[in-house]
Every structure is written in C-alpha cells, then in structure tokens.
Subunit: 346 residues, 2 copies
Amino acid sequence: MADVARRAGVSAMTVSRALKGTGTVTPETQARILQAVAELGYVLDKSAGALSSKKTGFVSVLIPSLNNSTFSDTVHGLIDVLDTQAMQVLIGTTGYSRAREEAVIETMLQRRPEGIVVTGGRHTPRARAMLTAAGVPVIETWEQPAAPIDHVVGFSNAATVEDLMARLVDRGYRRIAFIEGGEGDDPRGEDRRAGYERAVARHRLERTCVIAVGRVPISMEDGARAVVQLVETWPEVEAVICVSDGPAFGAIMECHRRGWAVPGRLAIAGFGDFELARQCWPSITTVSVGSRDLGRQAGSLMLEAIAARYAGAPLSPRRVTVAHTLVERDSTARRASPPTWAGRVA
Amino acid sequence: MADVARRAGVSAMTVSRALKGTGTVTPETQARILQAVAELGYVLDKSAGALSSKKTGFVSVLIPSLNNSTFSDTVHGLIDVLDTQAMQVLIGTTGYSRAREEAVIETMLQRRPEGIVVTGGRHTPRARAMLTAAGVPVIETWEQPAAPIDHVVGFSNAATVEDLMARLVDRGYRRIAFIEGGEGDDPRGEDRRAGYERAVARHRLERTCVIAVGRVPISMEDGARAVVQLVETWPEVEAVICVSDGPAFGAIMECHRRGWAVPGRLAIAGFGDFELARQCWPSITTVSVGSRDLGRQAGSLMLEAIAARYAGAPLSPRRVTVAHTLVERDSTARRASPPTWAGRVA
DNA sequence: AAGCCTCATGTTATCGATATCGTCACGGTT
DNA sequence: AACCGTGACGATATCGATAACATGAGGCTT
C-alpha cells in the first residue's frame, strides 16, 4: 500500500480511505490512487485490515454436509444477503457429528467471525460455551431449540411431520410407517420421528412402525432397502413417511422395480421438497420449508444483529419461525392412483 | 495472549510456541500454558498470526454453484485433504458466470489464500491476470485447458461424451440426440456437446440433433421439457444424451408420464453419475468422473505445491488427468428393455 | 576444566492496514 | 478583519500474533 501511496503522491492513509470508500477523498486524488492501484496490480490485504479495524468481514456458517442440497440452499440464501454488505461466508461442515461441530467451531472462532450461523439447536456443552463466549451474534437454524443460545431462525421438525400425518389420516390412511436413519446423530430426523409418534398417539392409530436403516444422512439406496424391509415386516402398512425426500425417492424406485404400485400398494411421502420430489413419477408428497428463504432470513437477521452490536445496542434474542408447507402430490393420492400403467404400455 | 502469558508466567512468544506446536516448549510449561488458556477461554487469533507469518491457512476454491452435488463433492474431497494440514477452504460461488468469477477472485485475493482452485479453464482476461499475479499455486479443475494458468486436475469433457457415443453406436443406436442448456455460460457443457458433434461426424451418423432448453445449469424439469420437444421435432431419434444426470432423470420421468418406454421408445443417458442415476428406475447410463476423488487429488497437489513454494522450489505446472468411467445401465439397454411393465402390474 | 552445543525461553521488530487525532487551507460569517 | 467550521489529508499508534535473533543454563566433549 505504501508503494501505491508513493506513486499517487499521497499518504497510505489516503489510499486506505480511497479504497474502502470511507472518509473524504477528492475525486482527482481518488482517480490518481485508483490508477496507481491498477498500474501496480495492488490488491488490498483484508487480514491486515481486519486486525486493525477489528472487523473481519466473515460470517461463519456450519452445516452437516455440503452434499445435501437442502443445506446448500440455506447457505446460498445466506450468501445472497451477506454478499450485499461485502460479508464473506466461511463454510464449515460438521458431518452430522456434534464432536466435529465442536472442533469446527473452535477453528472458526480463530478467524474471528462477526457472526455465526449453526444448524440445529443441540450442541456439546463446550461448543455451546464457546458460541456464547464468542461475543458475536449466533443464529441457530433448522430447529426450534427450547433454550436457544441467541437467535433462532427455524421451525419445528416434529410439527411438520405431525401435519403431514394429519393429512394422511385425513386421506384415510391408518397404518402408517416411518423410515429413518439407523446410525449417527441427526437431531432433526429424531424430531421428525417424534412428530410421527405423537401423531400415531393423537390419531389413535394402531401402532408405530419404524424402520431404521443406514447411517445418517440416509441415502436413496437406504430408502430402497427400507421399503422392502417394511413390506416384509408389516405387509399391512398402507403409507410410509421417509425422513427426507432422498430415501422416499429410493423407496419409490424400488417399488417400481418390484411392481408395487405407488400409491396403490403403498403411499410414500418425504421431507424437504427437493426438485426430485416434484419431478419424480409419481411426484412425491412432501413438506417444503423453503431452505433458501430460511438462509435469506438468517442473513438479514445476522446483518441486523451485527449492526446493532456495533451500534452498542445488541439485539435481544429473536426467534423467527419460518413457515412450512405441505405439498400433497401423487405419491399419496388416495384413489385412482395416477401412476398405474394399465393401458399405457404400448 | 498477553493475559495468558502473564497467567502462565511466561512470555507471549512461549505461548505462541505452545499453541501452534512449533518450536520447543517444556512439557510442564506447555501444561501451565494450556491451563491458562482453558481458564481464560482464550482463542488464538489467526488473522493476526496470518499477518506476521504471512501464511493465512486459506485455500480458495471457486465453483459454479453449491447446489450441484457434483461440485460439492469435489469441494468435500478438497476439504478431506486440506483439513489434515489444518488448511481452511474458502468457498466462492460464481453462478456459472465468468464476470462473477472475476469478481469473486478479486474478493478472494484480498484474503491472501495460499492456493487457489478454480473450476474450468476459461476465464476473463483480468481474472486470468489476477490468478497469475497472485503468486500462489493455482489449480484449474474439471477441464483440460489448452493453455493452463498453472496446474490442472481434470479431464476432457468432450472425450467423455465421445466415449459414451461410441458405446451407444456400438449398441446399435444411430439416431442420437443431445440435450443441453439454452442460455448461460457453461463451458463444460459446451465441450460435451462438441464431443457429441465430433462423434456424430466420426461415426458418420445421419445428423446432429441438439435440443437446447433453459438456463444453465439445466434442471430436471428442463430435461422433461426437452425430451418432449425432442420427440416432437425428431420422432425418429432412438437415443439421447443429456448434458448431465439431472435433466436425464427429468427426461425419463417425463417418458414415464407419457407412457414412452425407456429405453424401448427412447434410450436416455446422462453425465455425472449422481446417486439418482444409480437408483432411478430404469437406472441411468452415465459417465462417472469421481468428483470427490478429483477434489482429493487437487487437494494433494495443492499441498505439495504450497510446500514446494515455501521450500523455494516452486512446482513446475503439473497436469493430472482423472479417469472417467462409462457406467452402462438399463436406460440404454438395447433389447429386452428391462423397464417394461408388461406382466408386472398387479 | 575450558569450550561448545543444545534446548528452553525472552526481546525486539515487523506483518499491512486503519482508528484517531492533528494540521492546514479555504470560504463564509458577523 | 478576526473567527469559525469544514473538508482533505497526514502522522502516529495500534491491532495480535510470529520471525528472527539473543540469552542463559545445563550437559557433553576432549
């Protein structure tokens, strides 16, 4: 930066002002500086800037995995918003493990983010302590923790599945099963299952039928395996809810392979409203939670919280509930099961 | 850090040494320091460390989008490897736009990454200039640029589709179409299409049939629309290759909806070997490029290049070609078309 | 026993920017 | 004409760590 200053015939301070738009600089000086910058190919060093201004321009976000389109949507939503204020998102993946989450949080804190967004509301005690002690806004997402660390932008996973169950019961299904992950730590999946169980009780259904397969996040293939296991174990089951759209899709494809009509033989629903659910044949009944919008809302709240903190009036903990929508599609249609091949095969 | 030093009765320098494992510190001193750290809840500030050591611990990676499972797989592979050396990955998304890529590169350079991984081999002139001038290892991935900036870990998109075409021709298909994106900048998609065209010429097929729909990256729904358009435009077409597995899946589902047997009426192939392709019914013939492994290889090369640079012997540009594999599945099976419903509908 | 090496630790300078305060010139006010 | 406010810019201190060199205590060599 000193080089640029010399070349433009000004002080480093003026260069700094010119480059970040703050303070007052004469248009001519500004032009001279920008030209010097261009000639020298100078690039501002934000690490240094961060050190003196105590603002890193980072917001950390922790998600279980990048491969899950649902969470990457949320991250995209966050980026959409934070990008407008030139804030950069530092992404960390926790691999559905609280222990890894704790480790990632520690790494992240070393970068002094101005805000932290985490997925879920259950953490190791040390993780929780670190988040609290960080002294920056924290947003927990995708759940509705009973005792939030700070802010929350989420929804109740249990409630979504309860609603879905109510709909299925309304459509006349009584023997409804649930497919979930067998190993690993997936609090949101557990909540959904709890919602299923509550619904079974509330609607006085005969019994709960839960098939647990694979390691979270369970795959399409796990769904395929699970549906077979389900039909073998409880042949009387009429409908099944999968913990997410991936396994629901796998289950449907397996039914195709075996010639089990969906929803004729078995109605299948998922969670998440992946693109796949809309495009699948039959289209999959699911719950939409608007992941990208969830990310955007978290982003806006984060900007507000950061600004408030610098203004000396930290935001008191906010709880934003994002709406979920039941998307009823063909895979649970009660009669005239749309995907029947009768008469359509050439 | 001074507080920790005082509490442990040592100098800040010793604390620094203890914390980053470098240098020599007596076990007792180490223990005392770690205890002071724990008591004070002190967290190292890497921005400051980066400034003085001139090592940020960042590697930037630019991908078109997080939502594309293929690229996130590559990023995961990168993280797998870089994590072992406590290097953090800074992810930037370019939204399939060279202009955005240029902007993101500039932002990234302000963070002084120790290495940069970009997707693709075509960039704006300024982007290229910035990458060159950055003075750190650069790896271009997912393509085989003719004139690389520095290192390359990729494959020829054209060659993969040529291979796939050869296989289809081998299976007896002669009228083969290609479905691609209509708007937007997707160099890899264009390469694949070029491979398709070369194959049409080489095998002396009657003509090229290209359907372009939607904006890149094209969706499942785009694939569904495209296949309808295809059958209407060229009813004689026997097989179609889609620019990726997403639209291939959408096309297959649309065929189901319309009662067009796959592969009986139309064989359909994709690209990328998404999980969906394996689980779909019929399973989708595709090209696998091992995205995660690609990421791992890029990661290893990056570590090597970074180490070499610090050792004063920068690595001369390397070109790593990752193998692609044809995965032939049911969606292009020539006869006894597996997915026929004859006799399986109850 | 003198000399040397090694190990653990301390001192000082520095990384590259920005916060803060100071300076100076200029134009408007009374 | 003296005064004051404002705008443009400079000088200095500082952010929090680490590189590089210095120091001193012991153990080892011959």
